[in-house]
Each structure stands twice: as structure tokens, then as C-alpha cells.
Symmetry: C2
């Protein structure tokens, strides 16, 4: 069986960079935006639309298990959300069967739960995340610190809702992961090196 690492992350925590560096060092495939592009191709929806749908919980007051049994005639937007998730589900399984890989976000830890992936969650305190987001946005940034904070909170709320909708677990809860990494005030390259060393030792069995 292939070795699969899934990475859940708070927006601005550096989780994506950590995942990319980890994949590079391990020589594993790395999937993040590639997943959106491929789903867009398969569903004939625009990448922008798929990205929106794949980051937000479908409009339904119930989790998927209930929502799909209750609503015999769901509205088209809801149906499309489920179609994107279903395609994502298939694609993530295909990718995990193809080679060793690192998959960022997309409920991958839950989708692949029977394959026993190594599940990482990356987080940081608000100040560190804000600093990273502002510096990443660079000179073209049009958001004030206050607006950026609002955006950060909104994205993370979307991820938490999405995760709660499609799984029966709580996003970021320690029970759902093998390793939780706090990047507050830390250099992501160094944290990635440390994580690489940890993962190598875990995979050595």
C-alpha cells in the first residue's frame, strides 16, 4: 500500500508550504490545487466555481448523512455540491492508489480513513497567521489587517463547516489526527525538516 500523508491546516498557518516541502523531501507526489483543476475538467464546471464549492459547506441545515436521505428533490446548487464532493472523493482515492503522496485539505484524511493515512493538522496563533497572510499578499494586497482577519476567520469557518458536513468528525480536533503542529513564530522550512524526520521514523517500521 502507498504511503499517504494528509494535511489539514488553518488558513495562514503555513500548512500548504509545509506539505509542499515535505513532499519534495520525501519524493512523494503533492496534491492541492491540482485536485481542483482535475475536478473542473471532469465535471465541466469552471475551476473558480469548483474552488468555491469545494471550500464551502453545501447549503443544507443537516450533515450529508441526513441531508441526502431527507431531501428527495434537493435544489440544483446542493446537488452540484454533492457532485463535486463525489468527484473529489473518487479522485482522491485514485491519487492515493497511484503513488506515495501528500494531499492538502479536501477532507482527504476522512475520505481515506480506511487506508490509514498519516494525518497532520497545522495551526498557529492569530498573530502569526495574520503576519504570514499580510506578507504573502505582498505589495498588491488591498486588504487592511482588519479585513484580512475577517477573511481568515471566514475561510476557516468554511473549512470547519465543510468538514463537519461531509464527515462525522470535528475539524482540528486532536482525535482526528496523528500529529498536530503549531507553527506560531516558527520558520516553516525548519518545521518541515522536523516533520520530515518525524515521518521518516514513523514510516520506518
Amino acid at each position: 500500500m502507498n504511503k499517504v500523508i494528509t494535511i489539514g491546516r488553518e488558513f495562514g498557518s503555513g500548512g500548504r508550504e509545509l506539505g509542499r516541502r515535505l513532499a519534495e523531501k520525501l519524493g512523494f507526489a503533492y496534491y492541492d490545487n491540482e485536485i481542483i483543476t482535475e475536478i473542473a475538467k471532469r465535471t465541466s464546471l469552471s475551476e473558480e466555481y469548483v474552488r468555491q464549492v469545494a471550500e464551502k459547506r453545501p447549503v443544507s441545515p443537516y450533515p450529508i448523512h441526513i441531508a441526502t436521505s431527507f431531501f428527495h428533490a434537493p435544489d440544483p446548487a446542493f446537488k452540484q455540491s454533492l457532485a463535486v464532493f463525489s468527484e473529489q472523493h473518487k479522485l482522491i482515492r485514485e491519487l492515493s492508489e497511484k503513488s506515495d503522496c501528500v494531499i492538502v485539505g479536501r477532507c482527504a484524511d476522512y475520505i481515506l480513513r480506511d487506508e490509514n493515512p498519516f494525518r497532520i493538522f497545522v495551526y498557529a496563533d492569530k498573530e502569526s497567521k495574520l503576519k504570514r497572510c499580510m506578507s504573502r499578499a505582498g505589495a498588491e494586497n488591498k486588504l487592511s489587517e482588519k479585513e484580512m482577519k475577517r477573511k481568515m476567520a471566514e475561510i476557516d469557518r468554511g473549512r470547519a463547516d465543510y468538514y463537519a458536513f461531509f464527515s462525522d468528525k470535528k475539524w482540528g480536533d486532536r482525535e482526528t489526527y496523528d500529529l498536530l503542529i503549531n507553527t506560531s513564530g516558527k520558520c516553516i522550512k525548519q518545521v518541515a525538516d522536523a516533520t520530515y524526520d518525524y515521518v521518516k521514523a514513523v514510516f520506518a517500521k
Copy 2:
């Protein structure tokens, strides 16, 4: 400044063994029960009594910040709890100034918060913890699985209450730690090796 690693842990998660192995590999001092013994000496209380007091939240409906200002004439048991905590506080600071070390439990992460220790929390699912506790108890074990489960829950509740009383943080919350390690179904020696590799890379800066 010395390198200090603090380890919070759920009962039965293997956190203590992980801490001991980590200290051995790093060549750091290791403190756990030694702290109880030393406090007993300094306070002239019995080790058994200190252990009880140091594992349970003092009898007060308020956290320490409020309790100590409200009660001008607290009862003797409450006063003794505070005396033990105060001695523990002093001792842990002394130990951290003496040499590089690993300290298990005892609110050490909170007590040393200004020294920037590397804060680990070790946890596992209920089945793994029960299995570890039952096998550790060995042939002399007089507890049924049900009784052991109750004991495990009681000890962890005591730790959480103690932590909440003496700090303004929540025990086991990811914000309070640098690294959270899930030992469910894993070999502690291997997890300790991986943690050693992680910590070496973090300390390498």
C-alpha cells in the same frame, strides 16, 4: 538558556514512557516522580499526600486568581494545596535553570511559559489507553476493564481540573502546545524515536 521539554499526557497514552525515552536519547535530565519526592521533603508532608494534592484541583469553586483574592481565611486543606503548588512552582523553575530537561506533567508548560519550553501533549484513543493500562497493571491487577475505564477518566478529569485551576488555559487544547502526538495503536519506542528526530531539528536553529 537551557532546553526544556514539557510533556502533558492523557493517562494511559504512554506519555511518561515517551518522555523518559526522549530524555535518555537527548541526554537531558528527566523529572516526574522526583518532583513529588522533593516537594514532600521540602514541605514535610508525606509523598502520598503530596501526590494526591498535586493531581487534584484544590477544593474551591473558583480558579486560583479569583480564589486567592476572595478568600481571606481559606480552609487548611485549600491552604496546603496552594503551598504544594507554590513549592512545585519554585522547584520546577530551579530544575529548568539547572540543566536541559524533560518535565512530565505538573503544569510545567504553564509554570515555565516565559522560558519558552517546547510543549508536547501526548494522547490516544480510549481502546489504546485501556489496553496499555491493563497490560501495565499486569497479573496483580485487581481492576476490571470497567473499573479501569472509570479510573482513567477520573485521573484525566483531575488533571484537566488542576490545569484549569492553576492556569488560564485548557488542558489538552492545541493552542497550549507546540506538538500534539497521537499514540493510538503505536509503539511508544518508535514514537519516541520520531519525536527525538523532530525535537533535534527544532532545537538545531
